[in-house]
């Protein structure tokens, strides 16, 4: 259980889960909109379902997927920066070793 909480507390995982849930919520809204529209033959009564279900659902889905894409790109960029930082540290270690060697000779 502690292991699950530890994984969930990771901002990368929790943000992905929240955004994925929002995306699923958008799909559910579209399904609800379809249900409401299909339940009546009067266009005037169908339109509110169209706006509150389909439009809001598509907006929520687009919002969640857009932010999810941004979040995943940022996670990748952070990993890339960490690798670059490691390279930088290696270069500084090499520089320090070369300086010490030069000072000794």
């Amino acid at each position: 259980m502690d292991e699950i909480w530890r994984v969930l507390r990771d901002p990368r995982v929790s943000t992905t889960l929240v955004l994925a849930t929002l995306g699923v919520g958008g799909l559910v809204l579209v399904a609800l909109g379809w249900r409401g529209v299909a339940a009546t033959l009067y266009v005037a009564l169908q339109l509110p379902w169209l706006v509150s279900g389909a439009f809001a659902g598509i907006a929520l889905l687009g919002f969640a997927l857009g932010l999810l894409m941004t979040h995943l790109e940022r996670t990748e960029a952070a990993a890339e920066r960490a690798a670059l930082a490691e390279l930088q540290r290696d270069a500084l270690r090499l520089l320090s070793a070369a300086s010490r060697k030069a000072a000794r000779s």
């Binding site: 169209l50 509150s52 907006a59 940022r74």
Partner: protein, 134 residues
């Protein structure tokens, strides 16, 4: 042509990292000086994007309340559908794009800074190895 350890090494001056000879390398151009822009690390565009997307959702909710309030006339409902629903949808997309662009600018700047630091460290290393007696 390949570089060797005996090649002369020049460290970029701190006040102008794009000074010669780096701006003379083919294919590499110094960034153009533009007018004042929002700093890439500023959180303002991200908040603005979220606010624009939230305004889009509010507009969709407003359109829904108006459309649901007119239960007998489609001709009166359609203008709210278009001006509220579609505009709200558009605002949400614009907001998400603003957040995405802000994140890309921020990551790009951080990556550029880090790459420059790494390049400087490697140049220093090359200079130190050149100074070392053979």
């Amino acid at each position: 042509m390949s570089a060797s350890l005996s090649d002369p090494v020049e460290i970029r001056p701190a006040d102008d990292p794009y000074a010669a000879p780096y701006d003379e390398v083919q294919g590499l151009e110094a960034p153009r000086r533009r007018g004042p822009t929002l700093p890439a690390l500023s959180p303002i565009p991200t908040y603005a994007g979220i606010a624009i997307a939230a305004a889009g959702f509010v507009l969709i909710a407003y359109a829904w309340s108006k459309v649901a309030g007119i239960a007998d006339n489609v001709a009166l409902q359609l203008p709210y559908l278009v001006s509220g629903g579609l505009t709200g949808l558009g605002l949400v997309m614009v907001g998400v794009t603003v957040v995405n662009v802000a994140a890309k600018r921020r990551d790009g700047l951080l990556r550029q800074q880090q790459t420059e630091l790494l390049a400087d460290a490697l140049h220093e290393l090359r200079s130190a190895m050149d100074r070392e007696p053979q």
